[in-house]
C-alpha cells in the first residue's frame, strides 16, 4: 500500500526549481532514504511532505488522503498531518526539560496526564534515557540530545517518521551506534520512514530503498544493493561508494571473437557484450568498484603503484598507467609499497557501462 505519494511535485524558489516535477511513492512500513549532495532538493522534499514548505505545483497524498493539491485547492497544514519529524539540529526546546520536550506535543492531543507520563517513560526507556527526564537539553551530550529528539518523535505515535540528517551532528563513533538503534527501532515500530542524508554509507546501511537525487530530480530509485552495484547513471555511480568507483573512458571492440574494453592505455577483456546493442566504436565509460579489481603479478606488470593508504580493515591502493588512475581495495594490510609495479584483474561481470553522452547506464 502506498503510504505517501508525490505527484508531479515542483518547488521553485524564484526561477530555480529546488524540486523538479517529482513523482514518488513510499510504501507502508518502508524505510526510504533521500540521498544526494547538498542542494539537491532532498530536504525540500522532506519539508514539503511535512508541510513546512508548500509545493509550487503538484499533489501530495498520504494514506490515500490529499495533503496538498493546488489544482483541487487543498492544503493541510503541518499541525494536522500527524507526522513525526526529526531535525538535523534536533530542535530541542532549550528552556524545557526532557520531559516537557516530549510531553508538550502530547498535551495538545488531550490524552490524559497519566497516559502522557506513561508514554514519556516508555519512550525514554526505548532510547535508553530513563532517569533523564528532568534534565535540560544543555545538560545532555550530543548523542543524548539526539535520542531525546528521537524519543519526542516516537512519542507522538504517528505512523510516518520524517528525519532530516538526524545523525550528521554526531561524532563518527556515535553515528555508527545510532544507525543500528534507528534500524532496530524501525523494525520494532514499523513506521514508514523517510530519511534524508548526504551520507551514502548511512543510506546504504539503513534503507529499504534509496532515492538518489540531484538538482531536484530523482537519479535513481532502487534498493541499496542495486544502487551500489548497478548505479543507474554516472552521477549515482560517482556519488555512492567509498572509495569512489573507477570510471574509465574508452570504447568496446571485438578481436578474435572476444570482447574488450579499451583505450589508449589499457585494455580489459570482457564477457560477451549483449547482442542487439550497437555499442561498438562509441565513446563509453566503464565503471568498476575498487573491490572488484584484484592485484596480480606483484613486482612486475603494467601498472605503477601511486599511493598506498592502509585503513586497518582494508587498504586503498592507487595505481596508474598512462593517464588512467585506478583505485583498488584489498582487505587488511599489504606489503605493497609506492612505485611497485603490479598487474590488475577486473571482475568481468561487475563492470557497468555508461554512455558518455547521456551518462546513463548502458548495461
Amino acid at each position: 500500500m502506498k503510504k505517501i505519494e508525490l505527484k508531479k511535485i515542483t518547488k521553485k524558489y524564484g526561477k530555480i526549481a529546488a524540486v523538479d516535477n517529482m513523482d514518488l511513492s513510499i510504501n507502508e512500513g518502508e524505510f526510504l532514504t533521500l540521498l544526494g549532495p547538498s542542494g539537491c532538493g532532498k530536504t525540500t522534499t522532506l519539508r514539503m511532505i511535512a508541510g513546512l514548505e508548500e509545493p509550487t505545483s503538484g499533489e501530495l497524498f498520504s494514506n490515500g488522503k490529499t495533503l496538498f493539491s493546488k489544482e483541487n485547492g487543498i492544503y493541510i497544514p503541518p499541525e494536522q498531518r500527524h507526522l513525526g519529524f526529526m531535525f538535523q539540529s534536533y530542535a530541542l526546546w532549550p528552556h524545557m526539560t526532557v520531559r516537557k520536550n516530549i510531553s508538550l506535543g502530547l498535551e495538545t492531543k488531550k490524552i490524559g496526564k497519566e497516559k502522557i507520563n506513561e508514554r514519556v517513560k516508555d519512550v525514554l526507556e526505548k532510547v535508553q534515557l530513563t532517569g533523564y527526564d528532568s534534565r535540560y537539553p544543555s545538560e545532555l551530550s550530543g548523542g543524548q540530545q539526539q535520542r531525546v529528539a528521537l524519543a519526542r518523535m516516537i512519542a507522538a505515535e504517528s505512523s510516518i517518521f520524517l528525519m532530516d540528517e538526524p545523525l550528521s551532528n554526531l561524532d563518527a563513533m556515535l553515528r555508527v551506534d545510532m544507525r543500528s538503534e534507528l534500524k532496530r527501532l524501525h523494525k520494532e515500530l514499523n513506521a514508514t520512514s523517510v530519511y534524508v542524508t548526504h551520507d551514502q554509507v548511512e543510506a546504504l546501511t539503513l534503507s529499504d530503498r534509496i532515492i538518489v537525487m540531484n538538482n531536484g530530480k530523482i537519479m535513481q530509485s532502487a534498493t541499496p544493493e542495486e544502487v551500489y552495484i548497478k548505479p543507474a547513471n554516472l552521477f549515482v555511480a560517482r556519488f555512492v561508494g567509498s572509495p569512489r568507483i573507477n570510471l574509465i573512458e574508452g570504447s568496446l571492440f571485438s578481436e578474435g571473437g572476444k570482447d574488450y574494453f579499451k583505450n589508449s592505455d589499457i585494455s580489459i577483456p570482457l564477457n560477451n557484450i549483449p547482442s542487439g546493442a550497437d555499442l561498438r566504436d562509441k565513446n563509453i565509460i566503464a565503471g568498476i568498484r575498487s573491490e572488484d579489481i584484484v592485484i596480480k603479478k606483484k613486482n612486475e606488470g603494467e601498472y605503477r603503484i601511486y599511493s598506498v593508504l592502509p585503513a586497518g580493515s582494508e587498504t586503498i591502493i592507487n595505481v596508474i598507467k598512462g593517464d588512467v588512475h585506478i583505485t583498488v581495495k584489498v582487505s587488511g594490510f599489504t606489503a605493497l609499497a609506492m612505485d611497485n609495479r603490479v598487474d590488475l584483474e577486473f571482475s568481468k561481470d561487475k563492470i557497468s557501462f555508461y554512455s558518455k553522452e547521456t551518462e546513463e547506464l548502458i548495461y
Binding site: G51, F87, W93, R152
Partner: protein
C-alpha cells in the same frame, strides 16, 4: 474560483505569519502611511489658516502656496534656510562629540581591564534615562545669565562670574547638553558592536608585532566602522529632530532650528508650513540613512550582532589605568553626580538663588499649600496633580513597554518567517519609518486624525489612549528591530517541530517563541519604558490636564517659573526610571550590558 479561495483560506489559517503580515500592513498603513500621506496632503492644500493670508482661496483646494512660502519667498531665509543650517550644525556637532565620548567609553568598558566595570557602566548610561531637555534645565541652573532677567545661575551666584550669552544660550549650550545625552546612545550602540568582535583578531595583530595604538587603528577601528557609521546616522537623525533643548536654550538668543519652527507654526495653527518643514526633516533623515545603507549595507548597519561564544580578553591598561579611572571619575562626578546633587539640593531651597543654609526647606516635597510660596502649589508628596502625573507616566511606560515588546516580537516573527519576500521588506521598512518622523509633526497629525472616530476607533483626542498609541507607534522602529534580531537568533526548526507536533500557533508563541526571545523581549521592554517615561515632544501637543505626565509637568512648572517643583518632579522621574530599570534587571538577573542592547 471557489476552490482557489478555499485553498488560500486554508493556507492562511495555517500560516500565522501571512495573517500577521496582512494585519501589520493594514494597521501600519493606517497608523504610519496614512498620517504621512495626510501630511503631504496638508502641505498641498489650503488650510483654514491660509485663507487669512490669501483671501478668496478655498479651503482644501490644491495649492503650492506652502512650498512657495517656505522655499521661494522672503520668508525662506529666516524660516527655512537658517533653521535648517542650525539643525544640521547642531545635529552634526552633537553627534561628533557624542561619538568621541561614546566610543572611548565603549572601548574602555568592553575592551580593557578597567575595574568596577558594572558600576561605572550603570552610571554612565544614566543620561540615557533622562529626557535630553532636562539636561538643558540643569544647564540653566548652572549657567543662566541675566540676559533674560530674573536670577542668575549657580555659577554666577557662587563665584560672581558673569556668564557670556554664548555660554548661556544658543548653539554652544544646546550642543553640549544634547551631546551629554546622546553620548549614552552612541555608547550603547558602539559597545554592542565592539562586543561582537573576536578579540583573537586583535591578538593576532599583537602577535604580528603591532603596537596597541596600531591595533586600535588598523584592526579594531575598521571592524567597528560600520557600527560607527550607523550610530552616526542614527544620532544625527535623532538629534536634528530634537525639540526640547533648542526650545529652552535657543529662544532667548533667537537660535531657531527646524523642530522649534515646526512647533511654533503648528502652535499658530499654521500646519501647512509646519508640515513642509517636517517633510524636509523626513527627507533629510531618509537621505542620511540611505547613504549609510548604501555604504555599509543594511544588514550590518542595523541588526545587532550579538557576540556568542566569542573570546574577548581585555586589553591591559597598565600605567594608564589609574589615569583613566581618574578621568572617568571626574567625568561622572562633574557631569552626572554633581548636577543630580545640585538638582536635589535646589528642591530644598526656598528661594531659588539663595544658597545659604537658612534657606533650606522641605516645603516643595511635603509642604501644604501656602499662597506665598510657589503660587500655593502643594508639596510633591501631597500634590494630587503630581502623583496623578506619576501614575499616568508609569501607566504610559508600562503599557507601551508591554505592547511594544509584544508587537516587536510579532513583527520580528513575521519579518523573519517571511524573510526574502517583498512583504517582509515592506513591513520592516514601514515599521522603521516613524524613526524619521519629527515627533511634533507626527503628534500634530495624530491630533487631527483621531479627533474624530475612525471606523471602530472612537475619537481619541484628549484621552490617555492617544498618547499611548502614538508612543507605541513612535517606538516601533526600536521594538521591531530588537524583535527581528531576537527572532533571527531562534532557529526556525524550534517552531517547526512544534507545529508538526500539532501545537497551535498561540501556544507555540507563548511556550516556545516568547521564552526563547525572553532577553530580547525584556530589553525591548526596558528600552520602551525609558523612552516612554521621558517622552516630551511627542506628547506635548496631546496632553490634557487629566492626562498629564511627569515630563509635561516638568515643562509646565518650568514655564511657570516654579523651579523647585520642576526640579523635584525631574528627580522623581529620574528615580522612577532608574528604579524600574534596576527592578527589571534584578528580576531577570542578567548582565547589564545585554539588557541595554539597542535595536
Amino acid at each position: 474560483m471557489h476552490q482557489k479561495i478555499q485553498f488560500y483560506t486554508s493556507k492562511l489559517k495555517s500560516k500565522p505569519e501571512i495573517i500577521l503580515s496582512i494585519i501589520f500592513v493594514v494597521v501600519f498603513a493606517f497608523l504610519i502611511v496614512v498620517p504621512f500621506a495626510q501630511m503631504i496632503y496638508t502641505t498641498l492644500t489650503y488650510q483654514s489658516f491660509d485663507l487669512r493670508l490669501e483671501r478668496g482661496a478655498e479651503e482644501g483646494a490644491f495649492t503650492l502656496f506652502h512650498y512657495k512660502r517656505m522655499f521661494k519667498s522672503d520668508l525662506t531665509v529666516p524660516l527655512f534656510i537658517k533653521p535648517f543650517w542650525n539643525s544640521i550644525k547642531v545635529g552634526v556637532s552633537v553627534t561628533l562629540i557624542a561619538m568621541v565620548i561614546g566610543s572611548m567609553l565603549a572601548w574602555l568598558f568592553v575592551r580593557t581591564d578597567i575595574p568596577y566595570r558594572k558600576f561605572f557602566q550603570t552610571i554612565i548610561v544614566v543620561p540615557y534615562m533622562i529626557p535630553s531637555w532636562v539636561i538643558a534645565l540643569a544647564w540653566q541652573l548652572f549657567f543662566q545669565n541675566t540676559r533674560s532677567g530674573g536670577h542668575a545661575g549657580v555659577i554666577t551666584a557662587l563665584f560672581g562670574i558673569d556668564i557670556p550669552d554664548w555660554l548661556s544660550y544658543g548653539f554652544v549650550p544646546i550642543v553640549i547638553c544634547l551631546a551629554l545625552h546622546y553620548y549614552s546612545y552612541t555608547f550603547l550602540l558602539i559597545s554592542g558592536a565592539l562586543r561582537t568582535i573576536d578579540s583573537e583578531l586583535e591578538e593576532a595583530g599583537a602577535i604580528g608585532g603591532l603596537k596597541r595604538s596600531q591595533i586600535l587603528r588598523k584592526i579594531t577601528f575598521p571592524l567597528v566602522l560600520p557600527a560607527l557609521g550607523s550610530s552616526f546616522v542614527l544620532t544625527v537623525t535623532r538629534s536634528m529632530g530634537t525639540f526640547g533643548t533648542p526650545a529652552l536654550l535657543g529662544l532667548p538668543v533667537r537660535f531657531f532650528t527646524i523642530p522649534t519652527q515646526i512647533y511654533a507654526m503648528i502652535n499658530a495653527r499654521n500646519t501647512g508650513d509646519g508640515f513642509v518643514l517636517a517633510l524636509v526633516l523626513i527627507i533629510l533623515a531618509a537621505t542620511f540613512i540611505s547613504i549609510n545603507n548604501k555604504i555599509i549595507g543594511v544588514r550590518k548597519s542595523f541588526v545587532t550582532m550579538r557576540g556568542k561564544g566569542f573570546r574577548s580578553s581585555p586589553m591591559k591598561l597598565g600605567k594608564l589605568r589609574p589615569v583613566l579611572i581618574t578621568v572617568l571619575l571626574v567625568f561622572i562626578l562633574c557631569l552626572i553626580i554633581f548636577p543630580i546633587v545640585m538638582l536635589t539640593f535646589s528642591t530644598f531651597m526656598l528661594l531659588p538663588d539663595d544658597y545659604s543654609f537658612s534657606n533650606l526647606t522641605s516645603h516643595f516635597w511635603i509642604g501644604k499649600s501656602d499662597a506665598t510660596v510657589a503660587s500655593g502649589e502643594l508639596g510633591v508628596f501631597r500634590n494630587r496633580g503630581i502623583l496623578g502625573g506619576m501614575v499616568n507616566s508609569i501607566k504610559l511606560g508600562v503599557i507601551a513597554a508591554v505592547v511594544n515588546a509584544f508587537l516587536g516580537l510579532l513583527i520580528g516573527y513575521t519579518v523573519v518567517k517571511n524573510r526574502g519576500t517583498k512583504l517582509s521588506r515592506l513591513i520592516e521598512g514601514i515599521a522603521f519609518a516613524p524613526y524619521v518622523f519629527p515627533s511634533i509633526a507626527f503628534s500634530a497629525i495624530y491630533l487631527s486624525m483621531f479627533s474624530r472616530s475612525v471606523g471602530p476607533i472612537p475619537a481619541l483626542y484628549g484621552t490617555f489612549y492617544l498618547m499611548v498609541l502614538i508612543v507605541i507607534v513612535k517606538n516601533l522602529p526600536f521594538s521591531s528591530r530588537s524583535g527581528i534580531s531576537a527572532m533571527l537568533q531562534v532557529d526556525k526548526s524550534l517552531e517547526e517541530t512544534a507545529s508538526i507536533q500539532g501545537i497551535p500557533f498561540a501556544k507555540r508563541f507563548r511556550l516556545i517563541i516568547l521564552p526563547l526571545c525572553k532577553s530580547g523581549f525584556l530589553s525591548g521592554m526596558i528600552l520602551t519604558f525609558i523612552t516612554a517615561m521621558r517622552e516630551l515632544s511627542l506628547v506635548i501637543l496631546l496632553v490634557t490636564p487629566s492626562t498629564r505626565l511627569l515630563t509635561t509637568m516638568i515643562f509646565a512648572y518650568e514655564t511657570q517659573e516654579q523651579e523647585q517643583h520642576s526640579n523635584a518632579v525631574t528627580l522623581l522621574l529620574l528615580l522612577l526610571i532608574i528604579f524600574a530599570n534596576v527592578l527589571i534587571r534584578v528580576l531577570v538577573n542578567r548582565k547589564s550590558e545585554d539588557t541595554m542592547n539597542l535595536g
